[in-house]
């Protein structure tokens, strides 16, 4: 029936077929297909029970109308019938729960993983740390603000695109260690049937083994504050050789970045770079114009920190402010990025302090 309905809908609006998706994604792993089958099994059980119950109900509604001269009978209990319709559903439910338990056991078997990745939720981005490689980066929403505010037309991956996707190898068991830095988040990729809450102070486990390379998109699924709707998950599954290539590229990039941190930058260079960093890392709370949200997030424009001593300004960005939504950015941003964004905040957004900070002083 689902297929027929989908087909009927696709005929109605052929160009926008994907817009009318009405069922769960089957997914791209053995486990996700198993879960899909469970979903369809319980769905059809419900359909059968529904047809039977509603069938009798609508039959009664049409047949036993007073307007058709129906006269009510006087019986009002029947022990046999009542026992039957208590016992049969119980049996159906137990029969249903047994395969579900088997699937659960598969989901919980995180042993013998080939690759291990720690996934950490931050307000409102994901951090991916490869435990066996020296790879550690953040993944931010990449959808331009103009698309969200309807000033530009929306691209097909609207809100489901990031700057740095998670990269994993195909045909390898990848184990995720999921936690959070601030509030509770939840990491979900529908095509993997992997959804696990990211909870500060806890490390949850999950795993995936994807057969085919491809790009898979999901979202945070636990309300985590203002930009909960704007922290997508994008996973790029690469073939084994492409994955190895990517790993060595990441290493090379890391070396290049370390070299850059010792360079001297001009004010214009820092401000220009800082604007991009600000829009990715800061504008979510402090707003693109630096005005903040009164009562929730302070303004940058005219703030005592952004117009006061530069060391204190650097310090709050590097170490954050415990007990508030202000995160420590030392893990998220490179020294160059921190120098750039500090300089930008002091010399743009309505501020004009006139000083700048170089990346090499941040490192110390």
């Amino acid at each position: 029936m689902t297929k027929a309905l989908t087909l009927a809908l696709s005929l109605l609006s052929a160009p926008a077929w994907a817009d009318w998706q009405i069922n769960m994604n089957k997914g791209v792993t053995a486990l996700s297909r198993e879960i899909f089958d469970l979903h369809m099994l319980i769905f059809w059980i419900c359909v059968v029970i529904g047809v039977a119950v509603f069938g009798v109900m609508f039959y009664s509604i049409f047949k036993f109308r007073k307007s058709k001269g129906a006269v009510s009978e006087h019986w009002h209990e029947n022990t046999t019938v009542e026992v039957v319709w208590t016992v049969i559903p119980s049996i159906i439910l137990i029969a249903m729960a047994i395969p579900a338990t088997a699937t659960l056991m598969d989901m919980y078997d995180t042993s013998e993983a080939d690759v291990e990745i720690q996934v950490t939720g931050y307000q409102w981005k994901w951090r991916y740390q490869y435990l066996d490689e020296d790879i550690d980066y953040f993944s931010n929403l990449a959808t331009p603000r103009e698309e969200i505010t309807n000033e530009a037309s929306k691209n097909p991956n609207y809100l489901l695109e990031v700057d740095n996707p998670l990269v994993i190898p195909a045909n390898k068991k990848v184990r995720f260690l999921i936690t959070a830095n601030d509030v509770i988040h939840s990491w979900w990729v529908p095509h993997f049937a992997v959804k696990k809450d990211a909870i500060p102070g806890f490390i949850n486990e999950s795993w995936v083994k994807v057969e085919e390379p491809g790009v898979y998109r999901g979202q945070c699924t636990e309300l985590c504050g203002k930009d909960h709707g704007f922290m997508p998950v994008v996973v790029e599954v690469k073939s084994e050789s492409d994955y190895q290539q990517w790993v060595s590229d990441q290493r090379a990039m890391k070396l290049a970045m370390a070299g850059e941190a010792s360079k001297e930058f001009s004010m214009d260079e820092l401000v220009a770079k800082g604007e991009g960093v600000y829009n990715t890392a800061c504008a979510g709370c402090h707003q693109p114009n630096g005005q903040g949200i009164p009562g929730a997030f302070p303004a940058i424009t005219g703030s005592t920190i952004a117009t006061g001593a530069i060391d204190a300004h650097v310090d709050i960005i590097v170490n954050g402010k415990p007990g508030t939504a202000m995160q420590a950015f030392k893990e998220q941003l490179s020294a160059v990025d921190i120098a750039a964004v500090v300089t930008y905040q002091r010399n743009a957004l309505g501020n004009s302090v006139g000083d700048l900070v170089q990346p090499n002083t941040i490192q110390n």
Partner: protein
């Protein structure tokens, strides 16, 4: 329910020595009359339903199209949070308490509630609780924005300052509910007319008795969890703060230990209402009265051991997942029994379809659909795909809107002639029903689809693939929302004018309340009736 044969010493209760209501505002401020207090609860609930409904329409207007159009994400979160809190604690629960106040004394043959002064107090603290909660919308930082489930640490360390007012408001609502529940239990256990044994009580009375015990059991747990939040926020404790050695998952366990019985608090009285209405319009006694009572009692007991099915993705041990999956599926058995009994009541009856019956029939069908999606959600492995998506939103709105709220509307139409003394305007009632029925399904059915396709709940903006069904849901929401103006019109008109109602009102109605004249006098059953 056993047939109630009543032996009334004198049916005519409006003798001159029975004083009527006081005049002016004082009548409402100082009243200890169960009918006045019941009316105030119902009017209060209707106001909250409208305020919560406006918030729902703001949410649906923003979600009409992808992109941010009307509100900022932070305000959107305030709307989803306040909509949930107001509908649960302000609309559904007070409406059931209002119906209990009006009907329970009349259904058990009591002159009033057992504790009339406490009754007055438990109502009058409610408006203040909600004024406090609503005033947070105008505070710096805005209203609570962490969802009606207020998971820590989003609701503690990361909350707006108004969270303290929210905690105070929840305490007052909880006190009101506990007092209401004590009153209902005291009334039912002590003030039944001679001859009305427990197993002769109408089902609305039975379901409320069980609901009241649930309330007494879990409202203190809610008070406990918000107090722990208060301590974390202001007194330096770390119950839910991992950095201080606390446990954010503990919050969820405590919250859902309250929260799951809470959802039955919002549906058991509805079961009672439907079990009154269907026999009336089928002109046939309720099928399986005793099994109905046992089913409600077992649902209530099971509700204490299923809480963690709201938490399948928090990383519970495997045995925990399996236990909560099996326990949750068990609830489907007594719930199924109730639905089968309602259908069996209709089978070989003599049915008519007045407005209350239409709402009751819609309840049976749509609540059952909500039950089916509940059964699907109970399958723990599949829940990893459903959890926190619009599939869940569709599920609980199916059990709460065409479930709880349709039952409240059915009850209002069913007993309104008894309250006002005027027959219903059936045409207007049917217009309201059909608009609501169509609106509710256009709103919530597509949410199953976007949820399965992968749309998370509580997001102010969404990917393009979800656009079409979201527009559809928004259109439905406006149809449903505005059709409630018809409901308000119907009720006001019925209070003002209408054909004089008889004592019996509905041909097939059974029970003590129908032995009283319509409108029911200000004081009823001053002399208890005899139930044989």
């Amino acid at each position: 329910m056993a047939t109630v044969d009543v032996d009334l010493p004198h049916v005519k209760e409006d003798d001159p020595h029975h004083h009527g209501p006081a005049r002016g505002l004082g009548r409402w401020l100082y009243t200890t009359n169960h009918k006045d207090i019941g009316s105030m609860y119902l009017i209060f609930s209707l106001c909250m339903f409208m305020i919560g409904g406006i918030m729902a329409l703001i949410i649906r207007a923003e979600l009409f199209q992808p992109g941010l159009q009307l509100v900022e994400p932070n305000f959107f979160n305030q709307m989803t949070t306040m909509h949930g809190l107001i509908m649960v604690f302000g609309a559904v629960m007070p409406a059931f308490v209002g119906l209990a106040n009006w009907m329970i004394p009349m259904q058990v043959g009591a002159p009033d509630m057992a504790l009339p002064r406490m009754n007055n107090w438990s109502f009058w603290i409610l408006p203040f609780a909600f004024l406090i909660l609503l005033s947070s919308l105008f505070m710096p930082g805005g209203a609570p924005n962490f969802g009606w489930t207020f998971y820590a640490p989003l609701s503690t360390t990361y909350a707006p300052e108004s969270v303290t007012f929210f905690i105070f408001g929840v305490h007052i609502m909880g006190a009101s509910s506990i007092m209401g529940a004590i009153n209902i239990i005291a009334t039912i256990l002590n003030m039944r007319a001679p001859g009305m044994t427990l197993l002769k009580m109408p089902l609305f009375v039975w379901t409320w008795l069980i609901t009241a015990f649930l309330l007494i059991a879990v409202m203190p747990v809610l008070a406990g969890v918000v107090t722990m939040m208060l301590m974390d926020i202001h007194f330096g404790t770390s119950f839910f703060n991992a950095a201080g050695g606390g446990d954010p998952v503990l919050f969820q366990h405590v919250f859902w230990f309250f929260g799951h019985p809470e959802v039955y608090i919002m549906i058991l009285p509805a079961f009672g209402i439907i079990s009154e209405i269907i026999p009336t319009f089928a002109r046939k006694r309720l099928f399986g009265y005793a099994s109905m009572v046992y089913a409600v009692a077992s649902i209530a007991l099971l509700s204490f051991v299923v809480w963690a099915h709201h938490m399948f993705t928090v990383g519970m041990p495997l045995v925990g997942e399996v236990f909560f999956m099996f326990a949750t599926m068990l609830i489907a058995v007594p719930t199924g029994v109730k639905v089968f009994n309602w259908v069996a009541t209709m089978f070989r009856g003599s049915l008519t379809f007045e407005t209350p019956m239409l709402f009751a029939l819609a309840f049976v069908v749509l609540f059952t659909i909500g039950g089916f999606s509940g059964l699907m959600l109970a399958i723990a492995p599949a829940d990893f795909q459903y959890h926190d998506t619009y599939f869940v939103v569709a599920h609980f709105h199916y059990v709460l809107v065409p479930g709880a709220i349709f039952s409240i509307m059915a009850a209002t139409y069913y007993w309104l002639p008894k309250w006002t003394g005027h027959q219903l305007n059936e045409t207007m009632g049917k217009i309201h029903f059909w608009l609501s029925f169509v609106g509710v399904n256009i709103t919530f059915f597509p949410m199953h689809f976007v949820g399965l396709a992968g749309m998370p709940r509580r997001i102010p903006d969404y990917a393009l693939q979800f656009a079409d069904f979201n527009s559809m849901a928004s259109v439905g929401a406006f149809i449903f929302g505005f059709s409630q103006l018809v409901f308000i019109y119907n009720v006001i008109q019925n209070v003002r004018v209408g054909e004089k109602a008889t004592a019996q009102v509905w041909e097939g109605a059974q029970g003590l309340e129908w032995t009283l004249p319509s409108p029911a006098p200000y004081h009823t059953f001053s002399t208890p009736p005899e139930v044989k």
